[in-house]
Symmetry: C2
Subunit: 137 residues, 2 copies
Amino acid sequence: MKNFEINPLERYTTIFKALSELTRLKIMWLLLSIDSKISVSEIIDVLEESQYNVSKHLKILKNAGLIHEKKEGKWSFYYYLPSEALFDKYVKETVMAIPKDLMTKEIIRCEKRLSMRVDGKCIIGAESDEWAELKND
Amino acid sequence: MKNFEINPLERYTTIFKALSELTRLKIMWLLLSIDSKISVSEIIDVLEESQYNVSKHLKILKNAGLIHEKKEGKWSFYYYLPSEALFDKYVKETVMAIPKDLMTKEIIRCEKRLSMRVDGKCIIGAESDEWAELKND
DNA sequence: TTTACATATGTCTAATTTAGCATGCATCAA
DNA sequence: TTGATGCATGCTAAATTAGACATATGTAAA
């Protein structure tokens, strides 16, 4: 984690930088939109990105303080936790102000992927046949 | 100027990227705060950055669509022009939500520098003795 | 028409960032 | 215990970015 003691303004540039990359912006948008946590493999499926990229981008978002992580068994779940800070609230509003139709594909794939959960839990792995059947509709 | 036709989402990542660097964030904050245009040499004096850096960072902000430019004689003035787009409005609110006390030095230097204008015009150059006397108070 | 000034920009280098690949480490099931 | 799954991370090369320096362009003043 970066040391913001040296220059407190860096906390803000770090947040903007975290949102300055396409995959991270998509992840952030999804986490702000779905009112639930999501696992790494689910994000991999939704965004069709490599496991490496998703993991690393999640770490950058997390280090910026934008999202949080919770481990459950072998899964790592990431989620957005509303903050009381004014800046953080506006960051959320800003990202949510991105026109929804630019995220159509991501929304559809995310809904499909999350609907495969059993009892609200992420059960099915990234490479499952069930997802393979669904994902390219 | 970047071609946002390829992926319209890049318009948004480009804006976040423009704000992800310290000097540019300071410039943006100042332009949002001072309800007036400001010349390149005034910014150089206020932020104590090189002419090269200020020019280049201004160009990045301008290419992101965050600020605008107006040439007057040998001066180039930059300014913020409020936008009707929801995203742009929230970007402004977000930047303005940065605690003011993190910009104290910049505020003071900017007020001093702008007070040196004559008839609202930027007259005195960056290297003038008058500014040299004031700037290190 | 020189000269000074304000600004932009091209080149080089160093630092940072990104993706691909491979590997390591848990956890869980068989 | 073995193997499979979910995830993190170290290494490398490629791409991007930032700053220093030098120079070019345009304007205004002498």
